[in-house]
């Protein structure tokens, strides 16, 4: 699905990624974890082509992403911070993104599901953080793409929406899609993900199932297993 070879990226002198090799098979939910500033978002943005790597190859569904933009048709992306043009109405934004990609009717169902109907004619600049995140989720899930990338999807969501989101993720997984998630909420990761990738100082420290992580760190639960990695590495 996604294959990354020897990926390096630095922002001026700050080395963010140093030699990432990662293969993500199709189907299933993969969580990318790591402390703040470990390069999770940079990794995701590299896959999307928003960050240009200094070195390394990335291919998505067999296509090399360099100098290519059409592969993004097969990716749905939920950005970490929902920065929308503030003078646009929710309805206009959804319509515009639909015009850019392809027509879908899925958005109506999602609007219903997340209770966004009362906000459709409001400007994006006036929405609360949680509502913006719901709009963000609708934009990310309304297309039927084989790869879904979610950067901190739970930010600002109320409990009901969180449950809906989890259901949505499980449903997409059952449809055979590949989902890539980053999150700091360990219980959320433990609940939804099949496999985790742990980034530390720009490298992949661990890749495998949660069970395997618990065994290798000798910790009974997931949260402590992560914490033990961090304390052992003074991060």
């Amino acid at each position: 699905m996604v294959s990354i070879q020897n990926l390096h990226k630095k922002f001026s002198k700050n080395i963010v990624l140093s030699g990432i090799d990662l293969d993500i098979d199709s189907g299933g939910i993969f969580a990318v974890l790591g402390p703040n500033g470990s390069g999770k978002t940079t990794l995701i943005k590299s896959i999307l082509g928003m960050v240009i790597p200094n070195k390394g190859e990335i291919s998505v569904l067999g296509e090399n992403i360099k100098k290519n933009s059409s592969y993004r048709n097969k990716i749905d992306y939920l950005p970490q911070i929902a920065n929308f043009p503030s003078n646009l109405k929710v309805r206009e934004l959804i319509k515009m993104i639909k015009d850019l990609r392809k027509q879908t009717t899925e958005d109506e169902r999602l609007i219903e599901l997340f209770n966004v109907t009362p906000f459709l004619n409001k400007k994006l600049g006036t929405l609360s953080g949680g509502t913006k995140q719901k709009v963000n989720i609708i934009l990310a899930f309304m297309f039927d793409s084989p790869l879904i990338i979610l950067d901190e999807p739970t930010t600002g969501l109320d409990p009901i929406s969180l449950i809906r989101l989890k259901e949505l993720i499980q449903k997409e997984k059952a449809n055979g899609k590949t989902i890539l998630i980053t999150s700091h909420i360990m219980s959320f990761v433990e609940e939804v993900s099949d496999e985790i990738v742990f980034l530390l100082e720009g490298k992949i420290y661990f890749k495998g199932s949660i069970q395997k992580l618990k065994e290798s760190t000798n910790q009974p639960d997931f949260e402590h297993a992560i914490a033990s990695i961090l304390t052992n590495n003074n991060a």
Partner: protein, 248 residues
């Protein structure tokens, strides 16, 4: 944001055109006054709008970058959107009152169209330069500062330096040098083009005659337009080049 401001800009030129025609009662004189306004104001507005638009639509750009669109088409689309709407405001805002005044029947029509063409060129040039500056500077304040400095340099300081150098080297023949120096600055180039077209080069004395010999001919006119086009093409190429390598 963009549309509201371009309406204001349009209204401003409309008003300017009407007022000038009422006060002057003479098309050619109105064209000269307009030239003085356009030569300074058009680059300034192009610069400010270009920088402002880029920084204001940053979030929107990031949203588009995750979509299956080419980077060059995102940025060129934004650039053309700003430049075309500004040029339209200029051409329509000035064109309408002049047409109602009876421009089509007068012989000032060529001078006037040259004015509008160079005005549009200046809009495209300075919007492109502004986009370049904004692309290279993450910091808004810095970007604004550089953009204003660039405008100030080309509109005012360049002339001063040029004049100083002419005084300093006055013992040498300077015709070629001054033509060359004029070519390098789009604002000067536009001003000279229009002045000579208006047939007031006699005011400029000997240099005026040399300039007239060069810029007044078709050859000079073509060279000038090629220079103006280069001033558009180079910054636009840099926009595509720079945007392909930028991280968001």
């Amino acid at each position: 944001m963009r549309s509201r401001w371009s309406y204001v800009y349009f209204a401003f030129y409309l008003l300017l055109g009407i007022v000038l025609l009422f006060l002057n009662n003479d098309l050619s004189k109105a064209v000269i006054t307009l030239m003085n306004v356009i030569i300074v104001l058009v680059p300034l507005i192009g610069t400010i709008f270009g920088v402002m638009y880029y920084y204001n639509s940053k979030e929107f750009t990031e949203l588009l970058l995750a979509q299956p669109l080419k980077r060059s088409s995102i940025f060129l689309g934004q650039y053309l959107g700003v430049a075309i709407s500004l040029s339209l405001s200029l051409v329509l805002g000035l064109g309408l009152p002049f047409i109602f005044y009876g421009l089509l029947k007068s012989n000032a029509i060529w001078d006037f169209s040259l004015l509008l063409i160079t005005g549009s060129f200046l809009t495209f040039i300075f919007t492109a330069l502004a986009f370049n500056i904004a692309l290279s500077n993450e910091n808004k304040i810095k970007g604004f500062g550089y953009a204003i400095l660039l405008w100030l340099f080309l509109a005012v300081i360049y002339d001063g330096l040029f004049l100083l150098s002419l005084i300093y080297f006055e013992d040498y023949p300077l015709d070629k040098l001054s033509i060359f120096g004029t070519m390098l600055n789009p604002i000067d180039l536009s001003r000279t083009l229009i002045l000579l077209k208006l047939d007031i080069s006699a005011l400029l004395g000997y240099t005026g005659a040399v300039f007239k010999k060069f810029f007044g001919t078709n050859f000079g006119l073509i060279i000038s337009f090629i220079m103006l086009s280069i001033w558009v093409i180079l910054p636009v190429l840099r926009i595509t080049f720079k945007s392909k390598r930028k991280d968001f």
